[in-house]
């Protein structure tokens, strides 16, 4: 072989190798690759499962199952939109989806896999330890479609420094006391900044106050809550607080996060807001009033005999799309996330634990100063609005009537009558 052919031969070999090796490598990695579990969730779910003092809870499961976990995280509304779209497809690549309680309507829930068979064959340890009111709300026609994972329970956050400034010596013990204190805490500070006594941002915060005053919006068994007298009294209080400038004018434009920002900026003395946000309210990097915010369960009505008002919570549950593949693997992951130990570790990472027993953990008690208050509230709680097909319309109706009364567009009596009529038409 002369040099010319030799060179050609070597060149050809190099080309063949260059073209073949990537294919071989790709094929090998495909064959050797770990399984993949695709989870669609909010960022808080990923963070609480993987990052923080509780460690990466998923690590040992991933190793034991030789499976990678891919998190697709989205904001609340985009998540709902995308997950619902995935559920309505012929087949989805999403193995596990996180869903908020009010969004898990019967129509949507039934696009998830019923989990009863899994719970029988391969049960979650101490399943009864998970908040029964939450698991019950995820059950339709006797079948459970999702397992509760995270809750946000409404509590009362108050700025202790403002209390001292206005000569108020203790936190409110009853809801009547809270309303009186809110009026005293509406004032202009020496630096010219206005402080509002109380802020109620979203419907769940507003309904928490109604529950504390002895009323209810929609009961877990899907009846209009009433009693009418309590709703009228509640509306009268809202109007009174607005006229006294306790509730700020900007409240009609608040989104879910605005009350937190107002508390951090020192623009309000009290908020009814998820207890877990105590941390952000006292974080010196985020809050002007860090160290001054205390958190309690919402106080009950005077004479109710309760230690705390019936709590309002929102919670996320985790389920398996009916049109997904590899359901056994998905169940294995859900089951693993839901053990007491992992629930507690997730709580240490910032999750609201759905097991009461997690609150007995010494590490959690040390980390969360409001742990005992949250435990107290969780024992006696329910969702702001239970899941049913018109739950979103009911939430919007609540907001509409609340604003109409607050601004004086309707009288409390008329609003209570109209609310009853219109909510009843939405209920199944």
């Amino acid at each position: 072989m002369n040099n010319h052919y030799k060179n050609l031969f070597y060149s050809l070999n190099i080309w063949i190798l260059a073209l073949t090796v990537p294919f071989v490598l790709a094929f090998t990695s495909y064959v050797m690759a770990a399984d993949k579990l695709v989870i669609m969730s909010h960022r808080v779910h990923q963070d609480s499962a993987t990052t923080g003092p509780g460690g990466d809870v998923t690590a040992s499961w991933r190793k034991a199952n030789n499976t990678d976990v891919e998190w697709i995280t989205l904001g609340i509304d985009p998540l709902r939109e995308r997950l619902f779209r995935e559920l309505s497809l012929g087949e989805t690549s999403v193995n596990i989806g996180f869903i908020l309680n009010a969004q898990a309507t019967p129509i949507i829930a039934k696009r998830m896999m019923p989990l009863n068979d899994y719970l029988t064959k391969s049960p979650i340890s101490d399943f009864a330890g998970i908040s029964p009111s939450m698991t019950k709300a995820m059950t339709f026609d006797g079948k459970i479609y999702a397992i509760p994972y995270r809750h946000a329970t409404q509590g009362l956050h108050y700025n202790e420094a403002y209390f001292k400034e206005r000569g108020i010596e203790h936190a409110p013990k009853t809801i009547e006391e809270l309303i009186g204190i809110a009026k005293k805490l509406t004032y202009v500070k020496a630096d010219g900044n206005k402080v509002h006594g109380l802020v109620l941002g979203a419907y769940s915060h507003q309904i928490a106050l109604l529950r504390a005053m002895g009323g209810s919006f929609i009961t877990p068994d899907l009846k209009f809550g009433g009693p009418d007298k309590a709703l009228v009294a509640y509306y009268q209080t809202i109007r009174e607080l607005f006229l006294a400038d306790v509730l700020p004018k900007a409240m009609t434009t608040f989104d879910q996060n605005t009350p937190l920002e107002w508390m951090q900026q020192g623009r309000t003395a009290m908020v009814i807001y998820p207890m877990a946000r105590h941390v952000q309210m006292n974080d010196a990097k985020l809050s002007k009033v860090a160290g001054n915010v205390k958190t309690l369960a919402v106080p009950p009505a005077a004479g109710s005999g309760l230690a705390a008002a019936p709590a309002i919570f929102e919670y996320w549950s985790v389920g398996i799309p009916l049109n997904s593949k590899n359901k056994d693997l998905s169940w294995s992951f859900i089951r693993y996330l839901s053990t007491l130990e992992n629930t507690t570790n997730e709580a240490l990472n910032g999750n609201g634990p759905v097991r009461i027993a997690s609150y007995d953990d010494a590490r959690l008690k040390k980390t969360l100063p409001f742990a005992s208050e949250e435990r107290k509230a969780l024992l006696n709680g329910e969702a702001a609005i239970p899941a049913f097909d018109n739950a979103t319309k009911a939430a919007d109706l609540w907001k509409e009537m609340f604003e109409a009364v607050m601004l004086g567009l309707m009288t409390p009596q008329d609003a209570a009558v109209e609310m009853k009529k219109r909510v009843s038409a939405l209920l199944p």
């Binding site: 509304d77 939109e81 619902f84 779209r85 559920l87 309505s88 309507t105 129509i107 949507i108 039934k110 696009r111 206005k194 700020p248 004018k249 900007a250 409240m251 009609t252 434009t253 623009r267 979103t392 319309k393 919007d396 907001k399 509409e400 009537m401 604003e403 109409a404 601004l407 567009l409």
Partner: protein
Amino acid sequence: MKRLGAIPYFLVAPAHVMMLLFIIGPAIYVFILSFMQSNYGLDPSFIGFENYKKMFQDRYFWNATWNTFVVVNAIVYLELFIALVLSMVLPPPSLTCRIIVSALILPYAVSEVVGVLMIKYMFDPGVGVISYWLNSLGLNGLEWTINPRDALTLVVLLSVWLHMPFTFLIIYTAKLGLPADVYEASKIDGANAWQRFRHVTIPLLMPAIMIAIVFRYIFAFRLFPEVWLLTQGGPARQTEVLGVYLYKSAFRYYDFGLASATAWAMALLSLLVAMGYLQNMHRKMFVHAE
């Protein structure tokens, strides 16, 4: 007349195919959907005119229609008035003029979302800088968070600020093209400034004004981000416009049938409003020109 071969049709075909795929196709699909009950989790089913019936029986639809009608008219005519005044008072083309025109069209370069959020914070009743100035002057600022009328007023102001450059550019460029001899003739005939404006400028600008009005009507009918980002239709659903009503039907309640019916109602309403102007334009620009 020479017959056209296949090539010209072939050359314009991509544009038609695109239009078919992205405009006509989806419009037909939405039309079909307006006769269906369609929701995530449910298979679509034909329900005849039920969505239209539901829409016409809903008082919030009529409230949104009325708000849209009032707000759109206010926006279109306020923009037109401002654009016309600015076009008249601007100096002849020069460096100064270019700088002023650049400043005037600047809001058009601002993203709607950014613009609305910026204005929202400036008008915040507690900490907004404009609210603060107005209060300092003893004037009560717009109470847009609690007063629906004030909220819609702010929507109009905001929308005019964002979109006026479009109307301005059309009218201003048309004004630059007006023939000078007609003005000379009117001056010789003894017309004063107002008479020249009324009887020379306005008639000559009318085709451009018509185009600006028709386009702005059609665009303004789809009014959404200004209202959604500012009030989300509140307080108490008093500031909802048709765009917000449609969005809530589709993406909050997932009632795609009702949302499709609303979309068609919006398209027909804007066509109805535009029709008068389009007819007028056609008469003046083509029929009289023959």
